[in-house]
Amino acid sequence: MSNQNGRFGIHGGQYIPETLMNAVIELEEAYNHYKADPEFNRELTALLNDYAGRPSRLYYAEKMTKDLGGAKIYLKREDLNHTGAHKINNVLGQALLAKKMGKTRLIAETGAGQHGVATATAAALMGMECVVFMGEEDTIRQALNVYRMRLLGAEVIPVKTGTATLKDAVSEAMREWTRRIDDTHYCLGSVMGPHPFPTIVRDFQAVISKEIKEQILEKEGRLPDAVIACVGGGSNAIGSFYHFIEDKDVRLIGCEAAGRGIDTFETAATMNTGRLGIFHGMKSYFCQDEYGQIAPVYSISAGLDYPGVGPEHAWLHDTGRAEYVPVTDEEAVCAFEYLAKTEGIIPAIESAHAVAYAQKIAPEMKPDQIIVITVSGRGDKDCAAIARYRGEDLHE
């Protein structure tokens, strides 16, 4: 979908320091070579299937469907992947690519910790060194994931600058990459940053929609009416949308973190409150003030707490092909509890944003219509924080 220099409409590009230009050019060349290489694809498929547990299940949520009394609801169970989220799909691809490129060290940013854990996991598996940058605020919110990364042999560096959340972790990982390029691959976790990252990450995550399509055709003999996923940077959403983009009758709905509401400053809903800008290597929409200073965004979900959005989403927004809707903390927490009680599935608080919006629209749809919700990750990591949100004095 992107053209030569990585543009999606007007979005994307390579707004990065000169120091990194040859690194991203080398990455693009290597990726273009290996994505057409049967041996690379054979190795990656083996890793995804035998190690990560793909394909992930497409589960008919019968109780939820009956309870909401409208469209038939299916859950794409990315939470069942090894390491508990969709992040592993991209990481196995990038780590394998990095290894083929002769890199021996992976660096990564992480918000909720899921991408950090996935990167640490791939590094352990492939015998690579791993350093993960994580906002100090997030190391507190997601202490268990910090332990998991260290257990897997990664070094976790708490980032204290700025808002000490995901955007600062990305900035610090970029700074680290300019310090050390020769042996290091920056394993970016979302469909953002400079070209070719939005394309590479999209391609590695597109397995989600490829499987949804095959599975729903097998189960229902038709395509779904809507595919719903949460959007921070947007990797699980683009993965869920990609193979449906040309199927114009399938509604594509991205759920943004509204935090305390899009009429407050405590929000991370980029499409709904941001405007066009240039940051973290890309042109896209960003939450920012009138002088272009990046806004200190907020969401209960560390994984969606990011002031920008991937350039392909910005383009799908511009063209109207996908809809981007805000979901508040309170709505997401209610959906987190709802899915646990109704289906016995505890979703990541990020994924709960998508569940919440499905709860809104399913009752207005007809029983012969179908919604697929991507449950991008599992919610074990969030239990303590949600308990605290509900006033319980629970700490990990």
């Binding site: 220099n5 990065i16 120091t19 230009m21 600058t161 700025g162 310090r179 390029i181 009138e290 272009g292």
Partner: protein, 256 residues
């Protein structure tokens, strides 16, 4: 001819970087004048950005202090207008692409011409993306300065051929900040630059001591110092200009 050339027409140039509004614009004004009085040939004025991804801790903190003090692009434009009443050396802005894009590129760049800003240094605008602002820079006679890094390799000639104002050669890998020594062999890069560029080349990143400035200026047309000056501002605050003057004097003497 570019006004920036003036900075290089009387020996090796000393280029001072100062973040606007740290701790306040009044101090920035005094710091700029102290630097110029003591021999600075070109002033790089930093417009603070919330997330300066090419900067080390010292300039990151300077940006943060400036923003917390309420510094904005409009206030900086007014400040430069005032500065230009008596400061005649070439001056450029150093900032990030979003500061210009968000303000409105034409409004920003045309204002630069009006208030006497001669160039722009944008660390997140590489060769491939320069069309974002270059046509407007040409229209309003503001030089878009090109950066070249130790990792540029096969890109050096291409960048040098189209460079305007001066070339900012990044001394070493990593972000801005003082370094105890600069080990990169810059000679081959500078040879390629000389063969291709029509403009001078100055070296920055990691230079803090007179002997470093001397060594860097010896192989190029000038030395750029940022973090070392910001450290003085962090240490002395409103009292910094006097110390900056002494520091610039020692650096300028070392390079010529």
């Amino acid at each position: 001819m570019s006004k920036i050339a003036k900075a290089f027409d009387h020996g090796k140039a000393f280029i001072a970087f100062i973040t606007c509004g740290d701790p306040d614009l009044e101090t920035t004004g005094k710091a700029v004048r102290a630097a110029v009085e003591n021999g600075a040939d070109l002033i790089e004025l930093g417009i603070p950005f919330s997330d300066p991804t090419a900067e080390g801790p010292v300039i990151q903190e300077a940006n943060l202090r400036a923003l917390q003090a309420g510094t904005t692009t409009d206030k900086i434009f007014d400040f430069v207008k005032d500065l230009r009443k008596d400061v005649t050396v070439p001056m450029v802005f150093m900032t990030y692409a979003n500061v210009i894009f968000s303000y409105g590129a034409e409004k920003f760049i045309s204002t630069c011409e009006q208030i006497g800003i001669d160039g722009l240094i944008l660390p997140d605008l590489p060769f491939e993306e320069k069309e974002e602002f270059l046509p407007l820079c040409r229209q309003y006679h503001v030089d878009l300065v090109s950066l070249i890094a130790p990792t540029s390799e096969n890109r050096v000639a291409m960048i040098a051929r189209e460079a305007e104002g001066f070339i900012y050669l990044v001394s070493s890998l990593g972000v801005t900040g003082t370094r105890s020594e600069i080990t990169t062999d810059l000679q081959p890069i500078i040879r390629t630059i000389r063969e291709n560029a029509k403009v001078p080349v100055a070296i920055g990143f990691g230079i803090s001591k007179p002997e470093q400035a001397k060594a860097m200026a010896a192989i190029s047309d000038g030395a750029i110092v940022g973090s070392a000056i910001e450290k003085i501002l962090a240490q002395y605050g409103k009292e910094a200009p006097e110390h900056i003057g002494e520091y610039v004097k020692s650096m300028k003497e070392a390079i010529n």
